[in-house]
């Protein structure tokens, strides 16, 4: 069953891309939720140690889940997935 809660009626199925990999999700899900459910463990690397980081506060405060979604840098937990959305890891080169 994975991480999607039992008995929840989600929106229609859709597909987006994370660093080029197609990810199946449902309308209404945040990019953070959809990536977690798809088993993506790391969304970016920390600035000094380069260690993997992922969604932590889930309320748009900590900025750990920052990604680039359709060209805009924003927290994945506050970004709703859209069909065909292009999402890239948020590591600043």
């Amino acid at each position: 069953m994975g991480l999607r809660g039992a008995g929840i009626e989600r929106g229609r199925p859709l597909r987006f891309f994370f660093d080029g990999t197609p990810i199946d999700a449902f309308a209404g899900e945040s990019v953070a939720s959809a990536l977690l459910a798809a088993g993506v463990r790391s969304l970016r690397a920390s600035p000094r140690a380069g260690a993997p980081r992922a969604t932590f506060c889930w309320m748009g405060i900590c900025q750990e889940c920052t990604v680039v979604a359709d060209g805009v840098r924003r927290p994945a937990c506050r970004t709703e997935v859209r069909d065909g959305m292009i999402v890239l890891t948020g590591t600043v080169p």
Binding site: I8, G60, C62
Partner: protein, 474 residues
């Protein structure tokens, strides 16, 4: 585009919505701004519109009613608006999905709620470790589990709420790890008895977890989290009644997620930015704006309601929100003094009752200095900038005395979260123990309150059309 209104309320949780409704009922023009797509705050966070059936039916009826009353009122609502600046006068700037928006207002009500606090331990930055309050949001608004098998650890009433939420969604709870002892909970019996409905719900949750065979470990804390094949290894240690951990590992769990939180802190970005007076109140979630009895801050026209004024919980937020809205209405001349006096009596009693329960819960969530003192040297404290406790201690021994000095020395608190996650911990490390926090201070509030893509702020500027002054002669 700049709009003019009487009152801007920042935050669409129970405090903000009630303040907005109360002020609008007196004839004021009120606008509510919130980052989320719907009102309700974190406590009554709404499931997405695209989700159907069960999750909508299971949404807390208090939140549903709040959204319906707001929609039926004259209050203007702007959702998915992230406020990034409030300047005196007042001007409020937000970033909306379609670009920047701003308002001028005679009064601003800050109802920004509370945010997660986690006492750091080695490994807390690893993917799979998430906040306790954050986990409630995943469960309530996304119907998503943090992992297949989750350990729930930390302090306060969220422990039970999260553990039961995971079971209901079909997940496994490896255990509930509470820094408090059963005696700490029992000490709050008077407040618990004053809210039988909430207390009974808590007891029901606990019974359900015990039936499911979930172990409860009191007076334990997370010592470290290690990455191992197939998940995370969580090492637990016993703590004494001050929260000080022993060195010995008491137990290990292999899980794929750890939900951990040590209470909440008031969200003071805006009041700090505006340099309103604050003071430290450990039992109400740390630094809080100093208010008079009618929710006015030290800055005329700036009001604070709900948990942003200090933790008191959702019920108190309702009563305090209404009272704040009425104060604003009277101060702006929309309500006579007599009408105001008539309206506040019963509300004040209701607010006091609600606050006693909220304060008892806040006591269980209060930071324990001995817990912070035991953070190992190599532990990352500032997640944004990878700053460790050892670096903070080194700055302190070199003479950094205040939070802002540590920030300048080490970059701690200088990253994109603006010190929201580490701020209270840094203060506790600098104050060392039970010492007062006032001399240590807190990170200065700065714009932008949220990271801001400058291209969105600038809009469609044609750089060739900008009129540049002639260059200075060489």
């Amino acid at each position: 585009m700049s709009r003019e209104t009487d009152v801007v309320v920042v935050g669409g949780g129970p405090a903000g919505v009630e303040a907005a409704l109360a002020a609008a009922a007196q004839g004021l023009r009120v606008t509510v701004l919130d980052e989320a797509p719907q009102a309700g705050g974190q406590v009554y966070r709404a499931p997405p519109h695209a989700f159907g059936g069960t999750i909508q039916r299971d949404a807390d009826p208090i939140g549903v009613a709040l959204r319906q009353r707001l929609a039926a009122s004259s209050v203007v609502t702007c959702f998915e608006h992230a406020v990034w600046s409030v300047s005196p006068g007042f001007r409020v700037d937000a970033l909306a999905p379609d670009g920047p928006a701003s308002w001028t207002a005679r009064a601003v009500v800050v109802a920004t709620g509370a945010q997660e606090r986690v006492v750091p331990f080695p490994g807390w930055t690893r993917p799979g470790v998430i906040g306790l309050a954050g986990t409630t949001i995943m469960l309530k608004s996304q119907g998503m589990l943090p992992g297949e098998r989750t350990l729930v650890a930390g302090q306060g009433p969220l422990l039970l709420a999260v553990a039961v939420g995971i079971l209901k969604a079909g997940g496994q709870v490896a255990g509930v790890v509470d820094l408090a002892s059963p005696a700490d909970w029992a000490r709050e019996w008077r407040a618990l008895a004053s809210r039988p409905r909430l207390t009974a719900r808590g007891a029901g949750w606990r019974a359900r977890l015990l039936r499911a065979g979930v172990p409860f470990l009191y007076r334990h804390a997370v010592q470290a989290v290690e990455e191992v094949p197939g998940g995370l290894r969580v090492l637990l240690t016993r703590v004494d009644r001050h929260g000080a951990p022993t060195k010995k590992v008491a137990r290990e769990y292999l899980v794929d997620a750890l939900a951990v939180g040590n209470g909440l802190t008031a969200s003071t970005d805006i009041t700090r930015l505006l340099r309103a007076a604050h003071h430290y109140d450990a039992l109400r979630g740390g630094w809080v704006p100093t208010l008079d009895a009618e929710f006015r801050s030290s800055l005329p026209g700036l009001y604070v309601a709900g948990d942003a004024a200090g933790l008191a919980g959702a019920d108190a937020a309702v009563a305090d929100g209404i009272l704040t809205g009425l104060t604003v209405a009277r101060d702006l001349g929309a309500m006579t003094d007599t009408a105001y006096r008539g309206a506040i009596g019963s509300l004040r009693r209701r607010a006091r009752r609600a606050r006693s329960f909220g304060t008892a819960m806040a006591r269980l969530m209060a930071i324990r200095p001995a817990h912070v003192a035991a953070i190992p040297a190599e532990t990352i404290v500032c997640r944004c900038e990878d700053v460790t406790r050892a670096e903070i201690d080194a700055a302190r021994s070199e003479g950094a005395q205040t939070a802002n000095q540590v920030k300048a020395w080490t970059r701690c608190g200088m990253g994109p979260c603006q010190g929201r996650i580490c701020g209270d911990i840094v203060g506790a490390l600098l104050a060392a123990g039970e010492a007062p926090r006032e001399p240590v201070g807190y990170f200065t509030g700065r714009t932008p309150l949220r990271p801001l893509p400058l291209n969105l702020l600038a809009g469609d500027v044609e750089y060739t059309s900008l009129k540049l002054p002639p260059p200075a002669p060489l």
